[in-house]
Subunit: 245 residues, 2 copies
Amino acid sequence: MARPRRSQAREDAKGEFVEAAWELFSRRGYDATPVSAIIEKVGLSKGSFYYYFTSKEEVLDAVVSRIVDEISRAVEPIPSHPEFTTQEKMRSFFRAIGDWKVANMDIIREAAEVIYRDENVIIRHKMNNMVVERLSPALAEIVARGIEEGAIDAEEAEGTAEMILRFFNAMAEMQAASFVAAKDDPAALMRVIRKAELYMAAIEKMLGVSRGVLSPLDADFEERLQGAVSGEGMPREPGLSGERG
Amino acid sequence: MARPRRSQAREDAKGEFVEAAWELFSRRGYDATPVSAIIEKVGLSKGSFYYYFTSKEEVLDAVVSRIVDEISRAVEPIPSHPEFTTQEKMRSFFRAIGDWKVANMDIIREAAEVIYRDENVIIRHKMNNMVVERLSPALAEIVARGIEEGAIDAEEAEGTAEMILRFFNAMAEMQAASFVAAKDDPAALMRVIRKAELYMAAIEKMLGVSRGVLSPLDADFEERLQGAVSGEGMPREPGLSGERG
DNA sequence: GTCTATACATGGATAGAC
DNA sequence: GTCTATCCATGTATAGAC
């Protein structure tokens, strides 16, 4: 027996609001998206919106939470992987984040320009903080294990894990600033990637692991990124990852 | 008898707006401060405000710029200091920033709670970016010199300088998160300071300098911070060479 | 060039009916 | 749970006075 519903029953109205909000925030920005736009998209009224969320900010929290959930799911099993060494776990960890970015490159590329704008710091900020909060435990577990085994040189696993993730966020901010500064310069991307390697190398130094333990993924990531960014895989000059002068 | 100028003569109306804005932003927050509050405080009208600034955001930019100017003035002479070694320059550099924070602790302590709130990320963000932008050149000069002399192990001075400053910002974000998480816990401050040492040690590792080159300032900073935080007036003594004239 | 007064559109949020 | 109607704060624009 079917449950009696109102004319246009919603399976998951709240979810629809979150979905619509993300689409709008990523295309127009947070401040620039009025609640009225969200409700229009969903086809419900303002009253409904405020039935599910106490404020516009709350729907942003939900949006961010949903995104971080995805990354979190990919990262959680890594620390307890039975066969991975500490190095492999670290590499997988960063790669999981990178993979998410690559997998969502089409969205990100479109959203980046918007999200990276000053007015939308609030989005990045909530994302950054949630990444630290939710991903720290898994990374801390890997680091703790690494310290035990002597594979990592650090004093305190949790603080170190948090620090690395915040450093990762700082790297993203660098990318944001670089892209905004030169969004029309096609060479900008390569400069950003080169800078990113500096950051990865810095993490290696922080952890006292040898150079290249974390960064090889970059050479790989770089290719995939390049493909994703160009949209069709333009031919390009070979490796720049290892060289220095 | 002085001719009565319109209401009250203003020497520097624009400066007064900036001053008033900073006082209000730091006490109530950016979003929570309507332009009407700023003009009330100054005693001028909205039209005046928009004569000097094209938007509310612009006055925030001016506020942030003024603050970063202060730090910048303290930092600029350091790279060309004739007698300092690279290590001393680095130490002075970080200390100059620390000193500014200590000197302004009363304001900061009051403002911290407000500034650190999510709604006010925009303030921190603009501050962070401006710090990177304005302080990078000086730090890069120190680093470049250090690389030449073999005192610092890094690949590229400018990128490294920018990275370190962003890392510094990340440290501030950690502090923000920690304070917000436990604002009533008196032990929280010590934990934060301890965490901060982790960050300073990480910078030392990044630069390939020996442990303690940068962090001794922390022991010092810690004391002064402790004094400042406990509410006692602190001896504010810029232990650093040149600054404002 | 500097400022006052005022008008206005936008948009977040609420109340209460169904 | 969803609606309609409404409130009201506030950023911004403008006309015009000194």
